[in-house]
Symmetry: C2
Subunit: 245 residues, 2 copies
DNA sequence: CGACTAATTGAGTCGCTTCAATAAGCGTGG
DNA sequence: CCACGCTTATTGAAGCGACTCAATTAGTCG
């Protein structure tokens, strides 16, 4: 049974000043002068979100927005008969939620234990509306997300299982590296924040197909799988070739 | 051989005042006071785009943005070996282009003869940056497009061929109705602006599969296909059921 | 160490694709 | 106006990639 967010440990983010926030330089807040940023900060609260907990449900009223401080979360939608598609994965400094909209089109669920800086949507909307520099930053982010979503549509519609899995591993590697503040320095060894079923839900495949593709890549020496969620890229250039674009 | 946009008939949109523009109430310009809107209008020009002509190429510098006045255009990306995916279809009053970005991630090509109101990106960016109400409108549009793209990802990743084709016909019907200014009044008979190959490229299918699905729907009396590009929805509720969501 | 869950592997099936041939639209010119 | 030819769409047959169902193995945590 899903727990509501009300029971989560939460405290005004004012306690831990924005000044010390690890994502203050990369999140949308970076567009604001420190004093304005702190004013926004007082509208929000830091909240921990344990793995598996859902922050927002598909189709529900979109009552909140948030910045990701730590962790990884998925955005997902489902068909009425239960087929799921993960439509986005968000990392530290990313923005969650649908400002200026009534309903959320997708659920937001933590893939690993996470921390977010949470705002009531109404308060956030008002703040954004009176701070064009924040809206500008939101716009740039939305446009980037749109480009990313459209690139993913090419993968979903036109790529083979091998290409999908290879593309996924490369994307995961670079996004984790970015979020870990080592830009342009791709990570070759990391923990996958998703299990096999979730990888399948990102790629529009089944769990068995994902597993077979990973096994084949291991057999050919492109990757190693030291643990259930561990990944080591042995031959990046060959992985890039497998990604087929 | 592709023609460049330079040879197109073009004139300052100032000639035909924004005041008389058929999409002035629905395009992003609607956010602006008439005099401000006219100032923006003087930065742009009306341009006709015949069917098949490409306005922006994938990977090229994003030198222009535009409002669609009339017609239908596709946004598309391809893999290096030529597989194509249509990632968006735009209609009158929709916005084209990537403000505040260097490169376009996808091509923009007219599906039928179209007319757009074209702006050099630099001039548009400067104008937007100094008019928060315009940026707000752009933001709302970008967020709507993002929601739409993500719903489409569910279709691409998780739906069957039948569900894909049914969903496509319904989406086309309602988008054409909206663009034709009869909201909430779904169109049951219309011309498809896409040929079979393009429908396949939207849905991540082959031309033959699209054709077979349409034939099956015709055989079961759900639709009629009076001409190559003509469509008549006979039983909308059954079509909705086939769309599977 | 043992029990439980997650992942892998195998065998068989199905849906979509591929390749090939036919038919239907549609514009053109006689 | 109709015959012709070209393009686009439809239909058929065969193949294959991913899925389904089932059994086995490997991690992980108490």
């Amino acid at each position: 049974m899903p727990q509501t967010t009300a029971q989560l440990s939460a405290r005004p983010s004012g306690d831990r000043h924005c000044e010390h926030c690890v994502v203050k330089g990369r999140a949308i807040c970076a567009a604001l002068e420190p004093d304005v940023r702190d004013a926004l900060g007082r509208e929000g609260r830091i909240q921990t979100v344990p793995r598996g907990r859902t922050l927002v449900w598909e189709g529900e009223d979109a009552l909140l927005v948030a910045n990701v401080i730590e962790g990884v979360l998925k955005l997902s939608t489902s068909t009425s008969d239960g087929r799921e598609q993960i439509v986005g994965v968000v990392y530290p400094s990313d923005f969650i939620g649908r400002p200026f909209g009534e309903r959320s089109q997708h659920s937001v669920t933590a893939l690993i234990d996470s921390r977010v800086c949470l705002f009531p949507r109404g308060a956030f909307d008002r703040f954004a509306h009176s701070h064009p520099e924040l809206e500008h930053r939101l716009l740039e982010r939305a446009l980037d997300e749109l480009d990313r979503a459209r690139r993913w549509m090419l993968l979903l519609g036109r790529k083979s299982a091998t290409e999908k899995v290879a593309s996924f591993l490369l994307e995961m590697s670079s996004r984790l590296a970015e979020a870990g503040c080592q830009p342009n320095q791709p990570l070759d060894t990391f923990e996958l924040p998703l299990d096999r079923q979730q990888i399948a839900d990102v790629l529009g495949l089944t769990i068995e197909t994902v597993s077979r593709q990973l096994s084949a890549m291991r057999a050919s020496g492109v990757i190693e799988l030291p643990g259930r969620r561990a990944l080591h890229i042995v031959d990046r250039s060959r992985l890039v070739a497998l990604a087929g674009d």
